[in-house]
């Protein structure tokens, strides 16, 4: 087994190219801010950024100048308000960021079609709405059983998908618990996959609980070990969402100058996640730990010899 363990710098340098469609997925949980920041730091350009909920990570990437286009289903700072850097380039006559817009299920269905090598995926959304007019890629399709029509969305096949996970082995066999979002589908749909983990584990840990595996190493190109790499989002069992960060981003992102200064300080001004975390402080990190453990318990697969 060849190890795919790489630094974030090398993984992004090798696997993310100008003009790529990049999906950093994770629905509120396990968002790889570490990868987003490295892409900004390496000054990638003309990316199409796909994500159900662009969240702060894409607001920062758009502010960092890496994006040409956004493919999404919900645009906001959850629980706080709007994404101000993105609003600046999407409102009014000078809007410069291209948008391609779906609903949540539409985005999930697009990744699923990509993961399954299907030319489309059917769903019951979009009827009697303005979404198919806003996005002509949402198209009606007749049931071949004469019982009416549904809508179809096209496959989404990112050049690169980045996911964050609790653990993987060196071959990229990856396990996640808690919210699963659409990471599995986004990874299988992609041409290249970067997995960022809290913890690198021995293959035996993975093999002890194969039902927990969401992505096999066979589709993974790089494994990056980056504890706290999902901050300010969270990792089930490891740390909580840093709500203060989400609130603080609102006034920063409202002001273009403050935004640039923030990126200079927290992204360009650090060499990587380790320095970012040192800057954030051990106390802040510690304050995000869960109040107590909540163990799943163990099940028995049985040895059959």
């Amino acid at each position: 087994m060849t190890s795919k363990v790489a630094s974030m710098r090398d993984a992004v340098a090798e696997l993310v190219r100008d003009g790529d469609t990049v999906a950093i997925e994770g629905f509120t949980h396990l968002i790889s801010f570490a990868a987003g920041h490295e892409i900004i730091r390496q000054r990638r350009r003309d990316l199409t950024l796909a994500r159900m909920t662009p969240d702060l990570v894409y607001d920062q990437m758009v502010a960092g100048g890496v994006a040409r286009k956004l493919v999404f289903s919900w645009l906001g700072n959850p629980g706080v308000g709007g994404l101000n850097a993105i609003r600046r380039v999407t409102e009014g006559p000078d809007a410069s960021l291209e948008l391609e817009e779906y609903s949540h299920f539409g985005m999930v269905a697009r990744y699923t079609a990509g993961a399954m090598n299907l030319p489309f995926f059917p769903l019951r959304s979009y009827f009697e709405t303005d979404l198919p007019r806003a996005n002509p890629l949402i198209r009606p399709i007749e049931s071949p059983y004469g019982d009416g029509k549904v809508y179809a969305v096209p496959p989404l096949r990112p050049d690169v998908t980045v996911i964050h996970a609790q653990r993987a082995d060196a071959a990229g066999n990856t396990q996640v618990w808690g919210l699963l979002g659409c990471q599995k589908e986004a990874a299988f749909a992609a041409d290249r996959v970067i997995v960022v983990v809290e913890e690198l584990v021995d293959e035996a840990v993975i093999r002890a609980d194969p039902n927990r595996t969401i992505v096999p190493g066979i589709i993974v190109d790089a494994v990056v070990v980056e504890p706290f790499g999902a901050h300010p989002s969270y990792v089930q069992g490891a740390y909580d969402r840093d709500n203060r960060f989400y609130r603080d981003w609102d006034p920063i992102s409202r002001d273009p100058e403050l935004t640039t200064r923030w990126l200079d300080e927290w992204v360009h001004g650090v060499s990587g996640r380790a320095e970012y975390l040192a800057k954030l402080g051990a106390e802040r990190a510690a304050s995000l730990r869960p109040a107590a453990p909540a163990p799943s318990g163990s099940v028995d697969y049985g040895a059959y010899r």
Binding site: F27, T28, H29, M52, T53, F72, S73, W74, L75, G76, P78, G79, G82, I86, R87, T90, E91, G92, P93, A95, E101, Y102, S103, H104, F105, G106, V108, A109, T112, L123, R124, S125, Y126, F127, E128, T129, D130, L131, R133, A134, D147, G148, K149, W177, G178, L179, L180, G181, C182, K184, E185, Y234, Q236, D240, R241, N243, P290, A294
Partner: protein
């Protein structure tokens, strides 16, 4: 119990309490962030203890130990009945018709309960870019009933919405019922709108009808905050005040910082 008198409550508190009471007897509820979240968690502690909370992030049967700050808060996962991929949550639960009540908010709503959360102004060059559908479009189509909870204002209760993100009763009840039937939608559309001023249900024609005014709210206020002449129930009721228990739960457990209820 809180020592403040029951009568001293905010309009937001009244709105949340009214929405929670509407959930009596419901079984499976798709919870949104913000106001719906508080209303649903209040209902589970009062009128609907068996309510199963479903979060679009992929959680069924959540028992949050604190008020979740987002629909993906880790507190909704720990101790839940089931955590699934979003493919399964939207496909096997929502589109399958297992959700009794879905909650929606709105930037704009019209008399038929059609909802806009996408843009104010032109789609390509909008005046305001809103969040977009998220799961709202599919909730509106697939949840058995849709509850709307939102503050009322002339900007949001409009004659014509700028963009239809989530279908309500379309151009009227008859048309909506026909389309829902023909297309095999499992949902029957919007059934209640709860605002800071009152409670609306939908009449035979599919239009919003004011059935209950919150204490202290007036018909004039209602008219001043709507873009159309509202239908009013023949026997307009007054929403009963929040009880001491309801207020206590909101203030001590569900929103102690008053983020949503002040």
């Amino acid at each position: 119990m809180s020592e403040r008198p029951a009568a001293a409550f905010s309009r937001n508190e009244m709105m949340i309490v009214a929405a929670a009471r509407e959930l009596a007897g419901q079984r499976v509820c798709f919870v949104g962030v913000g106001l719906p979240n508080i209303a649903v968690n209040l209902a589970k502690r009062t009128v609907s203890p068996d309510l199963e909370l479903v979060y679009e992030a992929g959680v069924f049967g959540a028992e949050p130990a604190r008020l979740p700050l987002s629909i993906g808060d880790p507190t909704i996962v720990t101790g839940a009945i089931a955590v699934t991929s979003m493919f399964e949550l939207f496909g096997y639960y929502l589109q399958r018709g297992l959700i009794d009540v879905g909650f929606l908010g709105a930037a704009q709503i019209d008399r038929y309960g059609n909802i806009n959360t996408t843009v104010i102004g032109d789609y390509v060059h909008p005046k305001t870019r809103l969040p977009g559908s998220g799961g709202a479009c599919e909730i509106a189509i697939n949840a058995r009933q849709v509850f709307v909870i939102m503050r009322q204002s002339a900007r949001s209760f409009v004659d014509t919405i700028d963009f239809r993100t989530s279908p309500g009763n379309l151009g009227g009840a008859e048309n909506a019922a026909r389309i829902r039937r023909e297309q095999g939608w499992l949902g029957s559309g919007p059934s209640v709108v709860v605002t800071d001023l009152g409670i609306y249900h939908f009449d035979e024609s599919g239009e919003m009808r004011l059935d209950s005014l919150h204490p202290g709210a007036t018909l004039d206020e209602v008219r001043a905050t709507m873009g159309w002449e509202p239908r009013v129930a023949e026997e307009l009721r007054t929403t009963p005040d929040p009880t001491a228990q309801e207020l206590h739960l909101i203030r001590e457990e569900l929103d102690p910082e008053g983020m949503y209820t002040k």
